[in-house]
Protein backbone atom coordinates (compact mmCIF):
# COMPACT_ATOMS: atom_id res chain seq x y z
CA UNK A 1 0.00 0.00 0.00
CA UNK A 2 1.34 3.41 -0.98
CA UNK A 3 0.11 6.64 0.56
CA UNK A 4 0.16 10.14 -0.81
CA UNK A 5 -1.37 13.28 0.61
CA UNK A 6 -2.43 16.69 -0.49
CA UNK A 7 -2.82 19.88 1.47
CA UNK A 8 -5.49 22.39 0.53
CA UNK A 9 -7.72 25.20 1.69
CA UNK A 10 -10.70 23.94 -0.33
CA UNK A 11 -12.89 22.59 2.42
CA UNK A 12 -16.07 22.39 0.35
CA UNK A 13 -14.78 20.05 -2.30
CA UNK A 14 -15.20 16.33 -1.67
CA UNK A 15 -11.91 14.43 -1.48
CA UNK A 16 -12.40 12.66 -4.76
CA UNK A 17 -13.02 15.85 -6.71
CA UNK A 18 -10.14 17.57 -4.99
CA UNK A 19 -7.67 14.83 -5.76
CA UNK A 20 -8.90 14.50 -9.32
CA UNK A 21 -8.39 18.21 -9.89
CA UNK A 22 -5.00 18.18 -8.26
CA UNK A 23 -3.85 15.19 -10.27
CA UNK A 24 -4.93 16.87 -13.49
CA UNK A 25 -1.66 18.74 -13.33
CA UNK A 26 -0.08 15.61 -14.73
CA UNK A 27 -1.73 16.48 -18.02
CA UNK A 28 -0.90 20.18 -17.98
CA UNK A 29 2.35 21.19 -16.30
CA UNK A 30 3.95 17.78 -16.76
CA UNK A 31 2.98 17.78 -20.42
CA UNK A 32 4.46 21.24 -20.69
CA UNK A 33 7.74 20.00 -19.28
CA UNK A 34 7.68 17.15 -21.75
CA UNK A 35 7.24 19.47 -24.73
CA UNK A 36 9.78 21.99 -23.48
CA UNK A 37 12.39 19.35 -22.81
CA UNK A 38 11.86 16.84 -25.58
CA UNK A 39 10.43 18.81 -28.49
CA UNK A 40 11.93 22.25 -27.98
CA UNK A 41 15.32 21.09 -26.69
CA UNK A 42 14.85 22.75 -23.32
CA UNK A 43 16.37 19.71 -21.69
CA UNK A 44 19.71 20.18 -23.43
CA UNK A 45 21.55 23.33 -22.50
CA UNK A 46 23.61 24.92 -25.26
CA UNK A 47 26.63 25.85 -23.17
CA UNK A 48 27.95 26.29 -19.66
CA UNK A 49 26.96 29.92 -19.26
CA UNK A 50 24.05 30.61 -17.00
CA UNK A 51 22.66 33.59 -18.90
CA UNK A 52 22.80 31.87 -22.26
CA UNK A 53 21.09 28.82 -20.85
CA UNK A 54 18.42 31.02 -19.30
CA UNK A 55 17.82 32.65 -22.67
CA UNK A 56 17.62 29.20 -24.23
CA UNK A 57 14.86 28.18 -21.85
CA UNK A 58 13.05 31.47 -22.40
CA UNK A 59 13.10 30.89 -26.14
CA UNK A 60 11.66 27.44 -25.66
CA UNK A 61 8.91 28.85 -23.46
CA UNK A 62 8.09 31.57 -25.98
CA UNK A 63 7.95 28.98 -28.72
CA UNK A 64 5.66 26.83 -26.62
CA UNK A 65 3.29 29.72 -26.12
CA UNK A 66 3.23 30.27 -29.86
CA UNK A 67 2.99 26.60 -30.70
CA UNK A 68 -0.04 26.02 -28.61
CA UNK A 69 -2.09 27.79 -31.26
CA UNK A 70 -1.01 25.29 -33.86
CA UNK A 71 -1.92 22.48 -31.59
CA UNK A 72 -5.36 23.95 -31.03
CA UNK A 73 -5.84 24.24 -34.78
CA UNK A 74 -5.21 20.55 -35.23
CA UNK A 75 -1.79 20.73 -36.83
CA UNK A 76 -0.33 18.42 -34.24
CA UNK A 77 -1.45 15.14 -35.80
CA UNK A 78 0.23 16.02 -39.09
CA UNK A 79 3.47 17.18 -37.61
CA UNK A 80 6.22 14.59 -37.65
CA UNK A 81 7.82 15.81 -34.44
CA UNK A 82 4.94 17.53 -32.70
CA UNK A 83 3.08 20.77 -33.00
CA UNK A 84 5.71 22.77 -31.20
CA UNK A 85 8.31 22.06 -33.83
CA UNK A 86 5.84 22.66 -36.63
CA UNK A 87 5.02 26.09 -35.29
CA UNK A 88 8.66 26.88 -34.68
CA UNK A 89 9.47 26.00 -38.28
CA UNK A 90 6.56 28.03 -39.54
CA UNK A 91 8.01 31.07 -37.79
CA UNK A 92 11.28 30.85 -39.66
CA UNK A 93 10.15 32.67 -42.84
CA UNK A 94 8.90 35.52 -40.65
CA UNK A 95 12.09 36.16 -38.77
CA UNK A 96 12.62 39.77 -37.86
CA UNK A 97 8.94 40.51 -37.80
CA UNK A 98 6.96 41.11 -34.68
CA UNK A 99 3.29 40.63 -34.14
CA UNK A 100 0.73 41.27 -31.48
CA UNK A 101 0.94 39.13 -28.35
CA UNK A 102 -1.05 36.02 -28.34
CA UNK A 103 -4.66 36.73 -27.52
CA UNK A 104 -7.16 34.22 -26.21
CA UNK A 105 -8.66 32.09 -27.54
CA UNK A 106 -5.66 30.60 -29.34
CA UNK A 107 -7.74 28.60 -31.77
CA UNK A 108 -9.08 31.75 -33.39
CA UNK A 109 -5.67 33.07 -34.31
CA UNK A 110 -4.24 29.71 -35.22
CA UNK A 111 -7.12 28.82 -37.50
CA UNK A 112 -5.88 31.39 -40.01
CA UNK A 113 -2.47 29.76 -40.04
CA UNK A 114 -3.69 26.21 -40.08
CA UNK A 115 -3.04 25.82 -43.79
CA UNK A 116 0.47 27.17 -43.40
CA UNK A 117 1.21 24.80 -40.57
CA UNK A 118 -0.05 21.89 -42.57
CA UNK A 119 2.07 22.90 -45.53
CA UNK A 120 5.08 23.30 -43.29
CA UNK A 121 5.05 19.66 -42.36
CA UNK A 122 4.04 18.11 -45.69
CA UNK A 123 6.67 18.46 -48.39
CA UNK A 124 4.41 16.93 -51.05
CA UNK A 125 1.73 19.54 -50.41
CA UNK A 126 4.34 22.28 -50.52
CA UNK A 127 5.58 21.08 -53.89
CA UNK A 128 2.05 20.96 -55.24
CA UNK A 129 1.20 24.43 -53.92
CA UNK A 130 4.43 25.82 -55.37
CA UNK A 131 3.68 24.38 -58.80
CA UNK A 132 0.20 25.90 -58.74
CA UNK A 133 1.58 29.22 -57.59
CA UNK A 134 4.19 29.33 -60.34
CA UNK A 135 1.63 28.57 -63.04
CA UNK A 136 -0.83 31.21 -61.86
CA UNK A 137 1.79 33.88 -61.40
CA UNK A 138 3.18 33.11 -64.84
CA UNK A 139 -0.27 33.56 -66.36
CA UNK A 140 -0.69 36.82 -64.52
CA UNK A 141 2.57 38.32 -65.67
CA UNK A 142 2.19 37.06 -69.20
CA UNK A 143 -0.64 39.58 -69.58
CA UNK A 144 1.77 42.47 -68.98
CA UNK A 145 3.15 44.20 -72.09
CA UNK A 146 6.80 43.34 -72.70
CA UNK A 147 9.34 45.99 -71.78
CA UNK A 148 12.60 46.84 -73.44
CA UNK A 149 14.56 47.03 -70.19
CA UNK A 150 17.61 44.84 -69.95
CA UNK A 151 17.53 42.13 -67.36
CA UNK A 152 20.06 42.55 -64.59
CA UNK A 153 21.05 39.12 -63.60
CA UNK A 154 23.21 38.38 -60.55
CA UNK A 155 26.86 37.82 -61.26
CA UNK A 156 26.73 34.19 -60.27
CA UNK A 157 24.03 33.42 -62.80
CA UNK A 158 25.36 35.34 -65.80
CA UNK A 159 26.20 32.15 -67.51
CA UNK A 160 22.77 30.75 -66.84
CA UNK A 161 20.31 30.37 -69.63
CA UNK A 162 16.66 31.22 -69.36
CA UNK A 163 14.41 28.43 -68.34
CA UNK A 164 10.84 27.86 -69.42
CA UNK A 165 9.50 30.72 -67.30
CA UNK A 166 10.35 33.32 -69.91
CA UNK A 167 7.77 35.91 -68.83
CA UNK A 168 9.72 36.32 -65.60
CA UNK A 169 13.11 36.53 -67.12
CA UNK A 170 12.27 39.38 -69.49
CA UNK A 171 10.03 41.60 -67.41
CA UNK A 172 12.63 44.05 -66.13
CA UNK A 173 13.05 45.06 -62.50
CA UNK A 174 10.58 42.51 -61.26
CA UNK A 175 12.66 39.80 -62.78
CA UNK A 176 15.78 40.91 -60.94
CA UNK A 177 13.80 41.12 -57.73
CA UNK A 178 12.56 37.61 -58.20
CA UNK A 179 16.10 36.51 -58.86
CA UNK A 180 16.97 37.54 -55.34
CA UNK A 181 14.01 35.75 -53.84
CA UNK A 182 15.65 32.39 -54.18
CA UNK A 183 13.47 31.02 -51.39
CA UNK A 184 10.44 31.22 -53.63
CA UNK A 185 12.13 28.97 -56.19
CA UNK A 186 10.45 30.57 -59.15
CA UNK A 187 13.14 29.24 -61.47
CA UNK A 188 13.94 25.75 -62.49
CA UNK A 189 16.22 23.86 -60.14
CA UNK A 190 19.85 24.38 -61.08
CA UNK A 191 22.88 22.29 -60.63
CA UNK A 192 26.43 23.21 -59.88
CA UNK A 193 28.97 21.84 -62.29
CA UNK A 194 32.50 20.83 -61.53
CA UNK A 195 33.85 24.36 -61.78
CA UNK A 196 32.98 26.13 -58.58
CA UNK A 197 30.61 29.06 -58.91
CA UNK A 198 29.41 28.25 -62.38
CA UNK A 199 25.73 27.59 -62.31
CA UNK A 200 23.84 26.39 -65.33
CA UNK A 201 20.33 25.26 -66.07
CA UNK A 202 19.21 21.80 -66.79
CA UNK A 203 19.27 20.70 -70.37
CA UNK A 204 16.09 21.62 -72.28
CA UNK A 205 14.97 18.05 -72.44
CA UNK A 206 15.18 17.57 -68.70
CA UNK A 207 13.48 20.72 -67.50
CA UNK A 208 10.88 20.24 -64.86
CA UNK A 209 9.31 23.27 -63.20
Amino acid sequence: MKYFAGVTNLWEWPPKRLLAWHREKAGSIEALHDVIKNQLAGGVMPCGRFGANAAWLRLAVLTYNRADGAEAAGAAPGAPDGAAQAAALSDLPHSGKTGPPRAPPPAAAAAELATVFQLAVRPALVAFARARLIREVATLFASFPPTTETTRAPAASRTARACSLDPFRHSGPLSSLLDHLSGLSLHCPRRVLASYGRITDYEPGTRRC
Binding site: F4, A5, V7, P15, I29, I36, P106
Partner: protein, 149 residues
Protein backbone atom coordinates in the same frame (compact mmCIF):
# COMPACT_ATOMS: atom_id res chain seq x y z
CA UNK B 1 10.54 26.67 -12.78
CA UNK B 2 7.43 27.18 -14.87
CA UNK B 3 3.95 28.42 -14.03
CA UNK B 4 1.24 27.46 -16.47
CA UNK B 5 -2.21 28.94 -16.95
CA UNK B 6 -3.84 25.56 -17.35
CA UNK B 7 -7.08 26.59 -19.04
CA UNK B 8 -5.25 28.49 -21.78
CA UNK B 9 -2.14 26.31 -21.84
CA UNK B 10 0.06 29.39 -21.64
CA UNK B 11 3.23 29.74 -19.61
CA UNK B 12 2.73 32.84 -17.49
CA UNK B 13 5.97 32.79 -15.51
CA UNK B 14 9.27 31.05 -15.88
CA UNK B 15 12.58 31.10 -14.11
CA UNK B 16 15.76 29.37 -15.10
CA UNK B 17 17.60 27.98 -12.10
CA UNK B 18 20.88 26.35 -11.45
CA UNK B 19 20.78 22.63 -11.05
CA UNK B 20 21.69 22.67 -7.38
CA UNK B 21 18.84 24.93 -6.24
CA UNK B 22 16.18 23.10 -4.23
CA UNK B 23 12.81 22.99 -5.95
CA UNK B 24 11.02 24.69 -3.05
CA UNK B 25 13.32 27.69 -2.88
CA UNK B 26 11.92 31.16 -3.63
CA UNK B 27 8.64 30.10 -5.16
CA UNK B 28 6.70 33.13 -4.01
CA UNK B 29 8.14 35.61 -6.58
CA UNK B 30 7.25 33.23 -9.39
CA UNK B 31 3.72 32.80 -8.06
CA UNK B 32 3.35 36.57 -7.81
CA UNK B 33 4.56 37.06 -11.36
CA UNK B 34 2.25 34.34 -12.59
CA UNK B 35 -0.83 35.91 -11.02
CA UNK B 36 0.19 39.37 -12.22
CA UNK B 37 0.46 38.08 -15.78
CA UNK B 38 -3.18 37.03 -15.85
CA UNK B 39 -5.59 39.41 -17.56
CA UNK B 40 -8.01 41.43 -15.50
CA UNK B 41 -10.93 39.46 -16.81
CA UNK B 42 -9.88 36.49 -14.70
CA UNK B 43 -11.83 36.61 -11.44
CA UNK B 44 -11.41 33.15 -9.99
CA UNK B 45 -8.02 31.90 -8.98
CA UNK B 46 -6.76 28.46 -8.12
CA UNK B 47 -3.28 27.12 -7.65
CA UNK B 48 -2.04 23.57 -7.76
CA UNK B 49 1.42 22.17 -7.63
CA UNK B 50 3.66 19.40 -6.50
CA UNK B 51 5.19 18.98 -3.07
CA UNK B 52 7.77 21.69 -3.77
CA UNK B 53 4.90 24.16 -3.40
CA UNK B 54 4.38 23.13 0.22
CA UNK B 55 6.47 26.02 1.34
CA UNK B 56 5.54 28.32 4.21
CA UNK B 57 5.84 31.69 2.51
CA UNK B 58 3.95 30.59 -0.60
CA UNK B 59 1.11 28.96 1.29
CA UNK B 60 0.85 31.88 3.70
CA UNK B 61 0.63 34.27 0.74
CA UNK B 62 -2.04 32.16 -0.94
CA UNK B 63 -4.09 31.97 2.24
CA UNK B 64 -3.95 35.71 2.87
CA UNK B 65 -6.93 37.31 1.15
CA UNK B 66 -5.25 40.74 1.22
CA UNK B 67 -2.11 39.37 -0.30
CA UNK B 68 0.48 41.89 -1.46
CA UNK B 69 1.44 41.92 -5.15
CA UNK B 70 -1.34 39.57 -6.04
CA UNK B 71 -5.05 39.27 -6.63
CA UNK B 72 -7.27 40.10 -3.70
CA UNK B 73 -9.74 37.59 -2.35
CA UNK B 74 -9.90 33.87 -2.13
CA UNK B 75 -7.39 31.72 -3.98
CA UNK B 76 -8.07 28.01 -3.75
CA UNK B 77 -5.07 25.77 -3.80
CA UNK B 78 -4.08 22.14 -3.53
CA UNK B 79 -0.50 21.00 -3.42
CA UNK B 80 1.06 17.65 -2.75
CA UNK B 81 2.07 17.22 0.86
CA UNK B 82 5.48 16.02 1.83
CA UNK B 83 5.14 12.79 3.65
CA UNK B 84 6.50 12.71 7.19
CA UNK B 85 6.21 10.24 10.02
CA UNK B 86 3.39 12.06 11.79
CA UNK B 87 1.32 12.44 8.62
CA UNK B 88 1.93 8.85 7.64
CA UNK B 89 0.86 7.63 11.07
CA UNK B 90 -2.28 9.72 10.86
CA UNK B 91 -3.14 8.32 7.43
CA UNK B 92 -2.63 4.77 8.57
CA UNK B 93 -4.79 5.42 11.61
CA UNK B 94 -7.66 6.73 9.53
CA UNK B 95 -10.70 4.59 10.12
CA UNK B 96 -11.84 2.32 7.33
CA UNK B 97 -15.21 3.99 7.00
CA UNK B 98 -13.62 7.23 5.86
CA UNK B 99 -11.92 5.74 2.86
CA UNK B 100 -13.84 6.31 -0.34
CA UNK B 101 -13.19 4.59 -3.64
CA UNK B 102 -11.31 6.85 -6.04
CA UNK B 103 -10.89 4.58 -9.00
CA UNK B 104 -10.40 0.94 -9.70
CA UNK B 105 -7.98 0.16 -12.46
CA UNK B 106 -7.10 -3.32 -13.60
CA UNK B 107 -3.96 -3.48 -11.52
CA UNK B 108 -4.56 -1.09 -8.66
CA UNK B 109 -7.21 0.01 -6.23
CA UNK B 110 -7.18 3.69 -5.38
CA UNK B 111 -8.93 5.23 -2.41
CA UNK B 112 -9.03 8.63 -0.80
CA UNK B 113 -9.90 9.91 2.63
CA UNK B 114 -9.83 13.02 4.72
CA UNK B 115 -7.14 12.98 7.39
CA UNK B 116 -7.25 14.61 10.81
CA UNK B 117 -3.83 16.11 10.62
CA UNK B 118 -3.25 19.62 11.89
CA UNK B 119 0.43 20.44 12.15
CA UNK B 120 1.61 23.36 14.20
CA UNK B 121 2.11 26.50 12.17
CA UNK B 122 4.73 28.99 13.14
CA UNK B 123 3.78 31.94 10.94
CA UNK B 124 0.53 33.72 10.24
CA UNK B 125 -2.46 34.80 12.29
CA UNK B 126 -3.75 32.32 14.82
CA UNK B 127 -7.39 32.69 13.85
CA UNK B 128 -7.09 31.66 10.26
CA UNK B 129 -8.62 28.48 8.97
CA UNK B 130 -6.40 25.41 9.28
CA UNK B 131 -5.30 23.53 6.22
CA UNK B 132 -7.02 20.39 5.13
CA UNK B 133 -5.16 17.19 4.40
CA UNK B 134 -6.54 14.58 2.03
CA UNK B 135 -4.89 11.20 1.68
CA UNK B 136 -4.67 8.99 -1.34
CA UNK B 137 -3.95 5.28 -1.08
CA UNK B 138 -2.94 2.99 -3.88
CA UNK B 139 -2.74 -0.73 -3.47
CA UNK B 140 -1.95 -3.35 -6.04
CA UNK B 141 -4.44 -6.10 -6.63
CA UNK B 142 -3.47 -9.45 -5.26
CA UNK B 143 -4.07 -12.34 -7.58
CA UNK B 144 -4.43 -15.79 -6.22
CA UNK B 145 -1.83 -18.11 -7.68
CA UNK B 146 -3.20 -20.43 -10.29
CA UNK B 147 -3.28 -24.08 -9.44
CA UNK B 148 -0.38 -26.09 -10.75
CA UNK B 149 -1.42 -29.31 -12.34
Amino acid sequence: MLALWAEMNVVVADEFRDGNVPAHQELLPIAQRAFQALPETVREFYWRGDSACQEQSLLAWLRDEQRPQGPQGFVGFAVSARMNAALHAEIVATVEARWQPYSEASRAIKECAEVDYVPAESVGPRDREPLRYVAFARSNRRYLPTAVR
